[in-house]
């Protein structure tokens, strides 16, 4: 009797999963999509799906790839690395997916990449930006740029525009991979490259809410620029506390704080905060059209956020990149040749150069994408484009 | 063996050797003297009663002897071994076991398992600990425990969980468990309390049998008839001090004993 309940649960779970797959048309081109509908990243992640679906609809409307339609299978990881691994396994073994979009966080990426590698299926994250995650894998990709490149672009722009940057300090969260690498390595090294005198650094916990002791110390250093490695919340808290304690300095950061709503969320505290990121809504007609459509789709889906961020744009572009790779590899979606076609897709992505995507021209080097970086500055309660830097 | 026969033997020159000796022990809790300079002995193969009005400190004496509390002064000797500073856990190894006033059985365990716990001191090696005895229905430990239950007419309760059993049964299981340690001295805290007359009779016979087998009993009890039928020596406590000692027929006449009981409003 005691096993009836769990047994029923398994049956239901399996029925659900298999049920989703049962309806598939044999000659669709299947892409797996790891997303988080619950858990700690849900607000950032749940809009990605709108972007992905938008890209799929556009590709399919234009006739699909090699005459076939692209179909998305989603898997909710709830932000849990274990479930991300399960998801890749399901896509590879059960769904006959040709490639995987996602997962979202660096922790999930680290468990998903080895599974993708063993299963021989390309996995491309739209968000994770911790350094060196694709190292040692041949099926692992990220359509993100290294934080070092993003912040390098910011520093170069400041130098070109002759803004004060004689002295600098660093503030970062110590218990988050990306934040820590920015604070402990990337920013200090870039300061050295650009001749900024490093006055010191302060750190805090990822979930810290009280940054008053850190700001007190920063105040003692009186830097021109403060490099920040933190989630958007950390940047908001830091800027607020700086305003409260009366510390004026330009905060600079990378994609970790590139939240479209950041200026609004700071409520006037972060004036002049400058970041490097890979998407800006007001670059050209294509980005403006994307932003408009994205807004409509997210409103229709009842989501909280209607302005696309760089992760939404990246997710959108991943679909286009895979579509291009499938076209070039002449993929048929035939189940018998699945393994070969998956590897062919990987090879095409690896070889991709200057692909004209939404975010700009994208190339891949060692699994990570190389693309333009938009330097944005907080003005009032909105971002404004400060500079665009294309990769050499 | 009748009570008359043993009671005359108390002061005789061929007195049995001392099994338990309590010498001048004192104990106070938060400044209140619970036991003051108490001495008595329990002889091998005899039953000694510890009586006194409520709050006289009888259970405290048991707690001091079994080591639940340490004494403030004095000494406790068990079968010739000074156990005064020995941790409570090791005293059972010197041959002393006890039962409890408000039956203390392990509620989630079955009757049989409670008895198996009682055997611990004789099955304490690492091999014993890791032997999967439950895979063998007729393992010697279980056989022994079942036999002990059968001896007490309790065999049908063997696999019942203790918490659901009637008080009288639990009381007797508690006693059987104490005997299974193979101890030579048993401290029995109100063994007859809460038993009906027929159960009390059975208990009396059983205890007399144990005494006849050479066990030493120390019994805290209120039922004077019960004591009279088992114990050769009686120690009377009041306010933590010994006020009389001797055969029941003698101490019963003691004026101080009468005062203590009447003053306390007991029979």
């Amino acid at each position: 009797m005691k096993f009836v309940l769990p047994g029923a649960a398994t049956a239901t779970a399996l029925a659900l999963v298999l049920g989703c797959n049962g309806a598939q048309a044999a000659d669709d081109l299947v892409l797996g999509f790891l997303t988080a509908r619950s858990g700690p990243y849900v607000s950032l992640s749940n809009t990605n799906e709108a972007a992905v679906r938008m890209a799929v609809d556009e590709v399919n409307k234009a006739g699909g790839v090699n005459g076939k339609q692209i179909r998305i299978v989603t898997f909710d990881t709830a932000g849990d690395p274990k479930q991300a691994a399960t998801g890749v396994r399901q896509f590879a073994n059960d769904n006959g997916a040709l490639a995987v979009i996602g997962p979202f966080s660096s922790s999930e990426v680290r468990t998903a990449f080895p599974v993708g590698e063993r299963s021989g299926i390309a996995v491309m994250s739209n968000s994770s930006s911790a350094p060196g995650l694709t190292k040692g894998f041949s099926y692992a990709f990220r359509n993100t740029v290294d934080e070092g490149k993003a912040i390098d672009a910011v520093m170069a722009s400041l130098r070109d525009k002759k803004l004060p940057m004689a002295t600098g300090a660093v503030a970062y969260a110590t218990d988050d991979t990306v934040s820590k690498s920015v604070g402990a390595k990337v920013a200090p090294e870039l300061f050295k490259t650009y001749g900024v005198e490093l006055k010191g650094s302060v750190d805090f916990q990822f979930a810290a809410f009280d940054l008053s002791p850190q700001v007190s110390r920063l105040k003692g250093m009186a830097p021109d620029v403060i490099g920040i490695g933190a989630p958007p919340e950390g940047a908001i808290n830091l800027s607020r506390e700086m305003k409260r304690q009366g510390l004026k300095a330009r905060v600079i950061g990378g994609t970790t704080i590139a939240d479209p709503e950041l200026p609004k969320r700071m409520e006037g505290a972060g004036e002049g905060l400058t970041i490097g990121t890979t998407f800006f809504h007001d670059v050209n007609d294509r980005t403006r059209a994307f932003t408009k459509e994205f807004g409509e789709r997210t409103r229709a889906a009842g989501l909280n956020r209607h302005e696309p961020n760089q992760m939404d744009a990246s997710a959108y572009d991943i679909v286009l990149i895979y579509a291009e790779a499938m076209k070039r590899a002449n993929v048929s979606g035939d189940k018998a040749g699945l393994e070969k076609e998956r590897t062919a897709i990987r090879d095409q992505v690896t070889a991709l150069k200057k692909f004209p995507a939404l975010e700009g021209e994208i190339s891949f080097v060692n699994g990570d994408s190389v693309k333009p970086i938009y330097v944005l500055e907080v003005k009032g309660d909105a971002w404004s484009l400060f500079d665009t830097r294309k990769p050499e | 063996m009748s009570s008359q026969a043993t009671s005359t033997g108390g002061a005789a020159p061929e007195a049995a050797p001392v099994a338990l000796a309590v010498t001048g022990i004192s104990k106070s809790f938060a400044g209140v003297h619970a036991i003051r300079n108490l001495s008595f002995v329990a002889r091998k193969g005899e039953a000694t009663a510890l009586i006194g009005p409520n709050g006289a400190g009888k259970t405290t004496v048991f707690n001091l002897v079994s080591g639940v509390y340490g004494v403030d002064a004095g000494a406790v000797t068990v079968n010739g071994v000074d156990v005064t500073h020995m941790p409570s856990r090791r005293r059972i190894g010197c041959g002393i076991a006890r039962s409890f006033q408000n039956v203390r059985l392990m509620d989630h365990l079955s009757v049989l398992e409670n008895l198996l716990v009682g055997q611990h001191i004789r099955a304490a090696s690492l091999t014993d600990l890791l032997t999967p005895y439950r895979l063998f229905p007729n393992h010697r430990w279980r056989q022994e425990a079942r036999q002990a239950l059968a001896d007490n007419g309790l065999e049908r309760y063997a696999n019942e969980t203790v918490s659901g059993l009637p008080y009288g049964v639990r009381k007797r299981v508690d006693l059987v468990r104490a005997t299974l340690a193979g101890a030579s001295i048993l401290l029995l805290d109100e063994p007859a309390a809460g038993l009906n007359p027929s159960e009390t009779n059975d208990l009396r016979d059983h205890l007399n049998l144990l005494v006849a087998q050479g066990l030493t009993l120390v019994i805290v009890e209120h039922d004077m008839h019960f004591i009279d039928s088992i114990c050769s020596n009686v120690v009377v406590l009041n306010f933590g001090e010994k006020i009389a000692e001797g055969p029941l027929s003698v101490v019963r006449q003691d004026p101080e004993v009468r005062r203590a009981y009447i003053g306390d409003g007991e029979n």
């Binding site: 619950s38 607000s43 218990d175 750190d203 009280d210 002791p213 919340e233 700071m266 | 408000n102």
Partner: protein
């Protein structure tokens, strides 16, 4: 600069103090480690935010949030505490944790996983004394915490209801013999400790101008640590524990780095538990009777 850090520690400690007192009420009297309290802390902040967002004036919003927290706490009493009384001691802990997960996920569904900006209720004014910066919001929060705790301590010592509560804390059976209506007292205590936690959440939101579904976990777990360090069941112990943890946190950030905050805070807790389990002001556990 050290003075500034001490002031920062004091403010942080005040929040932990409220949570610790909420825990201490539940544990000291009811012997219940109520893991729903971090959730109620969060409800205090998040619900206030939610009510303000739909246009309520701030005092109604706070009142509404506190009312909601009290209501949820009564549910916790009904479903977790009362039902688990006969069973193993750890069972209410499970369901109270279930409440924490439920509350967090409900807020997650409603408001998303992002941290939300909490509007500045008080004029964004700061006192500047010499080089020191002291926020008005911080001073008011500190005052409210201290007044609440002082009042509670007075209430328990000097009023009849307080004496009844202390009797229950010492011995339930005795209390029942003395005619204390435990069935009625327990829900009242649940409401009281929920209100303390929720007020903590509101003050947190006002002070740091941010709320999120997870906001209860950090202060919640540190509040538990504060309670133990001060001594379970002792209100003033919780006050000392809260301040101590606040200082330990701020000072270790200043002198060693944020990496070690958890090592310092929980190491301190572990040390106290080994050296003096009853905490700084707690009474040693009573001896068992045979």
């Amino acid at each position: 600069m050290l003075t500034q850090q001490i002031i920062n520690g004091l403010m942080l400690g005040a929040i932990y103090m409220l949570v610790a007192v909420a825990f201490t009420l539940a544990i000291g009297v009811l012997n219940f480690l109520n893991f729903s309290l971090p959730g109620l802390f969060m409800v205090g902040g998040m619900a206030t935010y939610g009510f303000i967002r739909i246009g309520w004036p701030w005092f109604f919003a706070i009142g509404g949030a506190l009312f909601l927290a009290a209501l949820v706490s009564l549910l916790v009493e009904r479903l977790a505490y009362r039902r688990g009384e006969g069973a193993e001691a750890d069972v209410p802990l499970v369901s109270s944790l279930g409440f924490l997960v439920l509350l967090e996920n409900l807020m997650l569904v409603q408001y998303g996983s992002d941290q939300q900006a909490f509007p500045a209720l008080l004029p964004d004014m700061n006192l500047r004394v010499g080089g020191l910066v002291i926020g008005i919001a911080q001073i008011i929060s500190l005052a409210i915490s201290v007044i609440l705790v002082a009042w509670l301590s007075w209430f328990l010592k000097r009023t009849n209801a307080g004496r009844r509560i202390r009797t229950v804390a010492e011995n339930r059976e005795t209390a029942q013999l003395l005619g204390v209506n435990i069935r009625r007292l327990v829900p009242q205590l649940f409401v009281a400790s929920a209100l303390l936690a929720a007020v903590g959440g509101v003050l947190f939101a006002v002070n740091y101008q941010q709320v999120s579904p997870w906001m209860g976990e950090g202060p919640g777990f540190k509040g538990v640590a504060a309670m133990i360090i001060g001594g379970m069941g002792s209100i003033w112990g919780s006050v000392i524990g809260g301040l101590l943890i606040g200082f330990a946190e701020v000072l270790s950030i200043t002198f060693i780095g944020a990496d070690v905050v958890n090592i310092t805070v929980y190491g301190l807790l572990l040390l106290i538990l080994i050296v003096r389990p009853q905490g700084l002001l707690g009474k040693p556990p009573a001896r068992e009777k045979l």
